[in-house]
Amino acid sequence: MPVKDDDVDALLPLPAAAFHILLALSAGDCHGYGIIQDVEARTSGALRLSPGTLYRTIQRLLEQGLIEEPRKLSRARVDPRRRDYRITPFGAAVARAETRRLTELVRLARNVWRGAPEPS
């Protein structure tokens, strides 16, 4: 399915938790606890998702079609406590768009601070 820019833009800006989950899944399929650990490691322990926030966000991302459950599609018997999630092409597009948006934001901020002392 071709990814339309309008659909992508409609989802921006992404909530921080959603963005981190997408980043975690960009490295490969992963289950819930793995995502939490990945996010924690990436942020050097600054962000530790609670199970509630994690699965509420996962539910939303599933509904919006940004991620999917690959095993469910393959109809294999799944351990319900350890389901893997996979980022969809659409999800990847959204994550990239969010990255661009944040980069642009940071660039604008840098322009403002240029010459001025770095805010501590």
């Binding site: 819930g32 606890y33 939490i36 609670s50 199970p51 509630g52 926030t53 509420r56 539910q59 350890r82």
Partner: protein
């Protein structure tokens, strides 16, 4: 610890929990296992503080989703949504309005402290018959009852009157009440400004004004105290202002003066003109006080046999000062709205059931696609709640709009505001009723969808008969028909009663007569010659106006002034008591009869030459002549009245002085110039009646100009037509009828819709069977008849119990029926015919649809 976390997960919607609960627990368990000991404590704390907002967010997301879905589905089923909202609004609105009024008038305590111990006291027949104040009290009897009784904390007397107020704004005619100093304190309401009367002698020239008058006449001026005003020419000082919701003894009174007595006032025990109000001592019951008063009355009739032989006491709670008719009317109204509430619930249930049937497949599909039962239930609850909330809101608006319609059902004799506020408790109750119905029946399909195996409903075709659910719907439709028949019959009976009342000949011709009130202030007009000059100058000028046919002054309009009952003695005849054989009297100027359209029987009219120096004369009504001189020519006969001997010079037709529905005393009319000296101003002719053939507005302003030219200080009040006066007689009846009529119409409409809905569904369910029948050669007309028969069966099942209930209800409100029998065949026949017509109309479209079924179309659909 893990168990605690699992319990915490119950905050989430079940669907979410089912999907992710295990995973979440697993994640939590792993984090818990990986964490250090102090880390674990933080983990638990974080879990608690995190899961609560997350759970709320998930709930909120579902609510938004359900709301969106509801808006979409209801938009698709607009007819259903509108009907459901309308039905709810009607049920909630009508019930709230009617019960607000009934509660206000019948149940809620009067706005005084400890209202249950407030009682009213008057003279009455020894039998204790009648309601309210039967006869007024004489000062002597009042004094004796007050000093001899021991049941009362306090007792006071009051007299109603009217006076012209000059001071503040425009001169005005006001209802005033003279009260003894006990009255206002015993009611227990403090003035908002100043004080009430201390002793009658000190406060002889003091007045206390109502909050309403303070605002309308003195602009709410806080410095109004000690202001001087003029009442009927005498100076008074304002000493107090009462609070806004204070009315005593009724809504009409706008200011209070002190009631004083002279020794001479206590001489005549038959001079009755006062009412009394009292507060019972703590611990004394109403019945004990009544027993004491009855024994006192018996003692007084022994002590003063000449005057008190027939005199008893009317004793009643202040709350009960309303005619039984008002009470019955309100109860009938309450019953009618209750009928409507039941009908509303039945209709709503029916609507939701019909919708449930239509949605069975949709829900089954959603269930098959993985929606849990809990999600379906939640969705349907959202939908029902939205419908009921919308309907309830419309109902509140409806109730607010219809309360004023009900206000004429508030009796004027109670010290209450004329309009009750909306009763929030009643509103809540009606809302809860409809909401429960909506929820209950809205949920049914979801529960079914959950129970059934998914494939059943998907496989389901129109072959199934419908079974139990359809029987429930049939019962509901029957209930609707029953309720509408009850409402139809009772309102039909009341319509007949109003017709009967309206068909009564008042004895005069009310059309094209304008009336207005010009009370002449005493002592300015103490001189009878001066009064008569006023009448003549006004009448001459008014008669000269274009379009005016005739005009005259009278002491009081019929049906407005219903009293003025006095004793008549005829020489040579036994003296009758004024209680049992009084006659109503009026002082009038010439041409009063022609102006009013009262037919002349014989003799002559009152004339300008009937002055106080000439022979005292009277024109009497036919029943007056018949009472005193049966079978004789009354002309030239004499009688004694107010210490004067009068000669009958003319006979006119009887009129309904006391009102259309009451028996009136025989009437006599006396010349305006022969008002005895010393009679109080209330007896003066003051109502101007004008028979005309033109535009009213122009006439009114012309008459105002004429009166201003004759006396610039003379106030004019109560400008209205005689037709309005007569119409006022049936105002409460018509108000009640309007309400009942609307309820009945709505009821018929709803049950018609109910029948239609059920039959239409039956036809669609049986389309295959009908198709097969037709294919096998059945006559289409026979199929149509079959559907009609179904409709009629539903109607008849509802009509029979409806007739029985209506008959029972009609017997209960016999007092309102004015002689129309509770089993009035014409009314019953009409109501049944209307109900059948409604059933016919409801079956028409389904029957036509059934006839049009073609075998091919049905089989193709299969």
């Amino acid at each position: 610890m893990i168990r605690l976390y699992r319990a915490l997960l119950h905050l989430y919607p079940a669907s979410f929990r089912r999907e992710y609960g295990d995973e979440m627990t697993e994640v939590f368990a792993q984090s818990y296992a990986d964490a250090t000991l102090p880390g674990r404590a933080g983990l638990v704390l974080r879990a608690v503080s995190d899961e609560i907002p997350n759970a709320l967010a998930v709930h909120w997301a579902i609510l938004i989703q359900d709301l969106r879905y509801t808006v979409r589905t209801l938009n698709r089923a607009r007819g259903f949504a509108l009907t459901a909202i309308l039905v709810t609004a009607l049920g909630v609105g009508a019930n709230t309005a009617a019960f607000s009024v009934a509660d206000f008038v019948l149940l809620r305590p009067l706005p005084f402290p400890d209202p249950e111990s407030l009682v009213r006291l008057c003279e009455g027949p020894r039998t204790g018959a009648g309601w309210g104040c039967m006869n007024e009290l004489s000062p002597a009897n009042y004094r004796d009852l007050k000093t001899l009784s021991s049941s009362f904390q306090a007792m006071g007397a009051f007299v109603g009157a009217a006076a012209n107020l000059v001071g503040g704004g425009e001169p005005r005619r006001l209802g005033i009440t003279s009260v003894t100093p006990e009255v206002l304190p015993l009611l227990g309401v403090e003035p908002v400004l100043g004080r009430v009367f201390g002793s009658a002698d000190e406060d002889r020239s003091s007045i206390v004004i109502s909050h309403g008058l303070w605002h309308s006449q003195f602009g709410g001026d806080p410095g109004v105290l000690s202001r001087k005003v003029n009442l009927d020419g005498a100076p008074y000082t304002i000493i107090g202002v009462m609070p806004p919701a204070f009315y005593f003894p009724d809504r009409g009174t706008q200011l209070w003066t002190a009631l004083t007595f002279q020794p001479a006032d206590f001489e005549d025990r038959t001079n009755t003109y006062m009412h009394a109000v009292g507060r019972l001592k703590a611990g004394v019951t109403f019945e004990q006080a009544r027993a004491e008063l009855e024994s006192l009355a018996a003692r007084m009739s022994r002590d003063y046999p000449a005057t008190n032989a027939e005199t008893g006491v009317s004793f009643f709670r202040m709350r009960d000062n309303m005619s039984p008719r008002f009470r019955t009317m309100l109860i009938a109204l309450g019953g009618a709205t209750l009928c409507l509430l039941l009908l509303t619930c039945a209709s709503l249930a029916n609507l939701f059931l019909a919708r449930a049937t239509a949605r069975e497949r949709e829900l089954a599909v959603r269930a098959a696609l993985g929606a849990g039962k809990e999600r379906l239930v939640r969705q349907l609850i959202t939908e029902s709640v939205i419908l009921t909330v919308l309907g309830g809101a419309a109902g509140v608006a409806l109730a607010a709009a219809s309360v004023p319609v009900f206000s004429s059902l508030v009796p004027p004799t109670l010290p209450l505001a004329s309009q009750p506020g909306l009763d929030l408790r009643v509103l809540a109750l009606a809302l809860v009723f409809t909401a429960l119905t909506g929820l209950g029946f809205g949920l049914l399909p979801a529960l079914r969808a959950g129970r059934r195996t998914e494939f059943d409903a998907l496989r389901d075709t129109n072959r199934a008969g419908g079974g139990r659910k359809q029987r429930v719907r049939a019962v509901l439709v029957t209930v609707e028909v029953t309720m509408s028949v009850i409402l139809l019959i009772t309102s039909g009976l009341l319509i007949r009663a109003v017709w009967r009342v309206q068909a009564i000949d008042p004895g005069f011709v009310p059309q094209n007569v304008l009336t207005l009130n010009t009370p002449l202030a005493r002592p300015k007009y103490d001189d009878p010659v001066r009064r008569y000059q006023f009448y003549q100058r006004v009448l001459t000028a008014v008669r000269a106006l274009p379009g005016v046919e005739n005009a005259a002054f009278t002491t009081g309009l019929p049906m407005v002034i219903t009293g003025l009952i006095t004793r008549v003695e005829v020489p040579g005849q036994e003296v009758r008591s004024s209680r049992t054989a009084g006659a109503s009297h009026r002082w009038v100027t010439p041409d009063y009869f022609r102006t009013m359209g009262i037919p002349f029987r014989r003799g002559r009219d009152v004339e300008d030459s009937d002055t106080s120096r000439r022979q005292s004369v009277a024109v009497v009504s036919a029943s007056f002549a018949e009472r005193y001189w049966p079978g004789q020519d009354p002309i030239g006969k004499t009688f004694r009245h107010l210490d004067q001997t009068r000669t009958v010079v003319g006979v006119v037709g009887d009129i309904k002085v006391r009102g259309l529905e009451r028996t009136s005393e025989p009437q006599m009319y006396l010349p305006a110039q022969q008002v005895p000296e010393g009679l109080p101003g209330g007896f003066d002719p003051k109502d101007l009646v004008i028979r005309h053939a033109g535009e009213e507005d122009a006439l009114i302003s012309a008459v105002r100009q004429i009166i201003r030219a004759v006396d610039p200080e003379q106030p004019i009040s109560n400008v209205r037509t005689l037709e309005q006066v007569v119409a006022g007689e049936t105002a409460t009846r018509r108000a009640q009828l309007q309400v009942l009529g609307v309820l009945a119409a709505v009821a018929v409409l709803l049950s018609g819709v109910g029948i239609y809905g059920l039959l239409a569904y039956t036809v669609s369910q049986r389309a295959l069977e009908i198709g097969v029948r037709l294919a096998l050669g059945a006559e289409p007309s026979r199929v149509g008849r079959m559907i009609f028969a179904d409709g009629m069966r539903l109607a008849l099942t509802g009509i029979l119990p409806g007739m029985l209930c209506a008959y029972a209800a009609a017997r209960g409100m016999n007092a309102l029926l004015f002689g129309v029998p509770p089993s009035d065949p014409a009314t019953f026949a009409t109501a049944v015919a209307l109900a059948l017509l409604m059933a016919f109309a409801g079956s028409l479209v389904p029957a036509i649809r059934a006839v049009r079924v073609t075998p091919m179309s049905v089989l193709r659909a299969e």
